[in-house]
Amino acid sequence: MWQAMYEELGSQGFVPITVALDKDPEDARPYIERASPTHPSLIDTQHVVAELYHVTNVPTMIWIDEQGRIVRPHDSQFGTDTFTAFHGKHSAPYLDALRAWVREGKGVLDPATVRSHQIQPTPETQLARVHRALAWWLHQQGRADAAERHFLRAGELAPKDWTIRRGSMPIRGINPMGPEFFELAKEGVPLYPMEALPVEGGTSRKTS
């Protein structure tokens, strides 16, 4: 999907940068190879981007302008309709909004609005991230029991952070699409508090 958008809008100064929060590049490989991207398609096993941007679930979309400024913050949006039945979001309005931003500069939010839509980290969520970092290191050392303790502690400290709670499932040997995931989802899916898209009637364009 993002490759198609890159081919459509790349000549107009647009670049998609995908970051996979996976434990192993091999987990992301099927997705990346299917897309054959020519744009940056990156792997973040250490959750560098999750920490720097305070990402709490996937997918997370962030608009960054030509000066490196965030002009539309974290939004739970999708590039395809694969899981629309689950989350109820369609990709077409978002992709149209993206086109309007690249071509006409539309959809940019003023700084105060961007800030008001950011989720703020707390001492607990930041402590959760270091427990997750320690757990990940322990896991890589083959110390699974100790890793498990810190993954669980991280999840207790940041119950609404699925990069920690769901993202650690594959590391802990738990199926992230299995019963534990559906138990987790009962607590509510963490979505970002973004406002509606700025597009006026822009849902007609078919994308694939």
């Binding site: 970051v19 792997i43 999750a50 030509e66 270091v130 320690l134 100790a146």
Partner: protein
């Protein structure tokens, strides 16, 4: 009785193996070792990283002859610390206040990450373009 042990300190993306003095739940690290692992140095004016210094309210509780106490060090800098004495490892993070302040600038934090082929890419190399950052996962 404190014993000197190999200990791993994870600071952001970097894990350093160092010698620490472990006594119960307290982990102490020699000041020069801590400086090499974290960039922070204990000076008369407080804890300093380059020209930046943070005053320390109670220097006596921060360091003694065995070294700098890791938990007190994290508290003095208001940084989160996950400490596992039994596993002889700890991870230091960024405080909520600092992370919030950086996010509030609206400057996109820069990062470098590898692609599938191990080639590194840096966000700021795309200045001058409109970039869509897409964070996703296989899970």
């Amino acid at each position: 009785m404190a014993r000197s042990k190999l200990f791993t300190l994870i600071d952001g993306e970097r894990a350093t193996s160092l010698r620490a003095s472990i006594d119960g739940d307290a982990v102490r690290v020699a000041p020069d070792v801590l400086r090499d692992a974290t960039g922070w140095e204990l000076k008369p004016e407080g804890l300093c990283q380059g020209d930046l210094c943070v005053p320390v309210r109670d220097p006596a509780s921060l360091a003694d002859a065995e070294g700098v106490d890791l938990a007190a060090f994290a508290r003095a800098l208001d940084r989160p610390l996950a400490l596992d004495v039994a596993e002889r490892a700890a991870a230091l993070g960024t405080s909520a206040a600092e992370r919030s302040a950086r996010l509030a600038t609206l400057e996109a934090p820069d990062f470098s990450l590898p692609d599938l082929h191990g080639r590194m890419h840096t966000l700021s190399a795309h200045r001058g373009k409109k970039a869509l950052l897409i964070v996703y996962a296989s899970w």
